[in-house]
């Protein structure tokens, strides 16, 4: 049985966003993030939210794929609202709950921060949804290339990232197999308190880590056998490059986003 999990969330499609160079997309997302932290009011957030919605439509990815990422941060968002809204015995309050009260100003702030988190998550997930892992790693490598001047091994880090992505589904399959095998020997993973449950995972994590280290060693040998000796001098099957349209899109979008952040 093969699990139908792709690497990351990449949804292949043919859209202007998909065709945009990965490094340009990273640049735009960076500008979006900066703008998100510059805007001071709901007007700015509303504009950025509109940008996310518009981009989702242009990129032809299903809306529920974008929204799916929010499940992970839902708890944080709720916590943010609550932590900002509740105050201890304030003089003014919208609603009182014993010594705690909901403060109007705090509530506004909480919602603002929560919406910002939401836009941050949806905005960046648009990047991973429209860019394949290999393109993404390549884009990151090119964006960080200047760091090579200060002797940071950007190429090797990018290779590490690609290999990690390649092994996510394989490792997940292995973990599932080991878990089921230990269950077949009577292990149970959902009984007892938190400490007992954590201990119950040892028979899964130990062999998994052992296999991962063993595999890393074997993989290194195989890579050496194919003449890998670091990322210096390596060429690519498909050499991604920024075209004029990529530069233009990145600069225009980036400038508009930052301007919006400064003004709103």
């Amino acid at each position: 049985m093969k699990r139908i999990t792709g690497i990351g969330q990449y949804v292949p499609a043919d859209s202007p966003v998909h065709r945009l160079d990965a490094a340009a997309k990273i640049g735009v997302v960076a500008a979006f993030t900066v703008s998100l932290f510059l805007v001071r009011g709901f007007a700015g957030l509303a504009l950025l939210a509109a940008v996310v919605v518009a981009m989702t439509a242009v990129s032809r990815v299903p809306a529920r794929a974008v929204v799916r990422g929010l499940r992970a941060v839902a708890v944080i968002m709720v916590f943010t609202i609550v932590a900002n809204a509740l105050r201890w015995q304030p003089p003014e309050a919208l609603v009182r709950l014993g010594p705690l009260a909901v403060d109007g100003v705090g509530l506004r702030a909480g919602v603002f921060f929560a919406v910002r988190i939401m836009l941050l998550v949806t905005g960046t997930s648009l990047l991973t949804l429209t860019t394949s892992p290999v393109q993404l790693a390549g884009g990151i490598e090119r964006v960080l290339a200047p760091l090579k001047l200060v002797r940071i091994p950007v190429g090797d880090l990018a290779m590490t990232l690609t290999i990690a992505l390649r092994f996510i589904p394989t490792t997940a399959e292995e973990a599932e197999r080991i878990m089921t095998a230990q269950q077949a020997r009577g292990a149970s993973f959902d009984a007892g308190g938190p400490i007992a449950r954590a201990r119950a995972y040892a028979p899964v994590l130990v062999p998994l880590f052992f296999q991962l280290f063993r595999r890393a060693d074997a993989l290194a040998t195989a890579m050496e056998a194919r003449c890998y000796r670091g990322s210096e001098g390596r060429t690519r099957l498909v050499e991604a490059r920024m075209r004029p349209v990529d530069w233009a899109t990145m600069l225009v979008a980036g400038t508009l986003l930052i301007a919006a952040g400064v003004l709103l």
Binding site: S132, T162, R166, P169, L219, T221, E224, A225, R226, C227
Partner: protein, 285 residues
């Protein structure tokens, strides 16, 4: 006849040669290989057999310079594998395929992995494309270029590993127990590929195994016992000698035993019978 350690002028006879090679994993460990001498030439299919622990995998890794001999030397087209300066050349001349396909695949999609070797060699994009297309076609994976590796069957994954080695355009290919993790269909396709690579495409192919499956197709068989070479000759010589088979730790597949039983009854059946067809054809031409 000693060959020069570096071909300075004129062509070298292309060959991988082991000259009295010994190998120890650690200073105090027993010898994993003991005084082994052999040669592998382009166009040959050589099978190396032995039980687990006989030194077969060590031998495979010595072919590629992944290990350097503790004594003796290994020459690949005249280059000494112990010489760090030669390793680059050695490794692009000798392609390796290991036992577990998942331990060899680094690309996120098929064509990316196949391109890994040529990319390391610093070749230009269009040439990489050409090599990848040719290698994938040679192993029957054309059409699956954009497939993610974890969606391939074990046999397909192993063939991808072969393609990855072929993309380096090596003169020799060394397979270390390539079929251990495959089902019978996968085993057949990989063994077929090894035969084709040697006899049709002219590569020097070495297949290490503890299984007699590929032995009958080989031009030569080398048998290892505890690191020492006890046999180097035609498959018949090994398959027809029960005492030697037992020493090497191999068991005959049922069809070979049938051939032996028929010979015992006075019928002329080839020793190295690989399948039912060859037995029946030998009896009734």
């Amino acid at each position: 006849m000693r060959r020069p350690s570096r071909c300075m002028k004129g062509p070298c006879t292309p060959v991988i040669s082991f000259e009295s090679v010994g190998f120890r994993y650690r200073g105090d460990a027993p010898l994993a290989l003991d005084d082994v001498s052999l040669s592998l030439e382009p166009g040959e299919l050589v099978a190396v057999v032995g039980a687990n622990g006989s030194g077969k995998s060590t031998l495979a890794r010595l072919c590629d310079g992944l290990l350097a001999p503790t004594s003796g030397r290994v020459l690949v087209d005249g280059l000494d594998t112990s010489d760090p300066a030669s390793l680059w050349q050695v490794r692009s001349t000798v392609g390796m395929v290991f036992q577990d396909p998942d331990d060899q695949i680094v690309g996120t999609v098929v064509e990316e992995d196949c391109a890994f070797g040529p990319e390391n060699l610093g070749l230009p994009g269009p040439e990489i494309r050409e090599r990848v297309d040719a290698a994938l076609a040679a192993v029957g994976l054309d059409g699956l270029e954009r497939r993610e590796p974890h969606l391939l069957s074990e046999g397909q994954k192993q063939r991808l590993a072969v393609a990855g080695a072929l993309a380096m355009r090596p003169r020799y290919l060394v397979f270390d127990e390539p079929t251990a993790m495959l089902d019978p269909a996968g085993r057949r396709s990989v063994l077929e590929i090894t035969e084709r690579l040697a006899h049709d495409d002219g590569h020097g192919v070495l297949v290490v195994s503890h299984d007699t499956a590929g032995v009958s197709r080989a031009d030569r068989v080398i048998g290892l016992v505890a690191g020492r070479m006890v046999f180097d000759g035609a498959p018949d010589g090994l398959l027809g000698d029960p005492a030697l088979l037992e020493r090497v730790g191999l068991s005959l597949p049922p069809v070979a035993r049938l051939a032996a039983a028929l010979r015992g009854r006075g019928l002329d059946v080839p020793v190295a019978a690989a399948d039912a067809e060859s037995v029946v054809s030998a009896l009734w031409r």
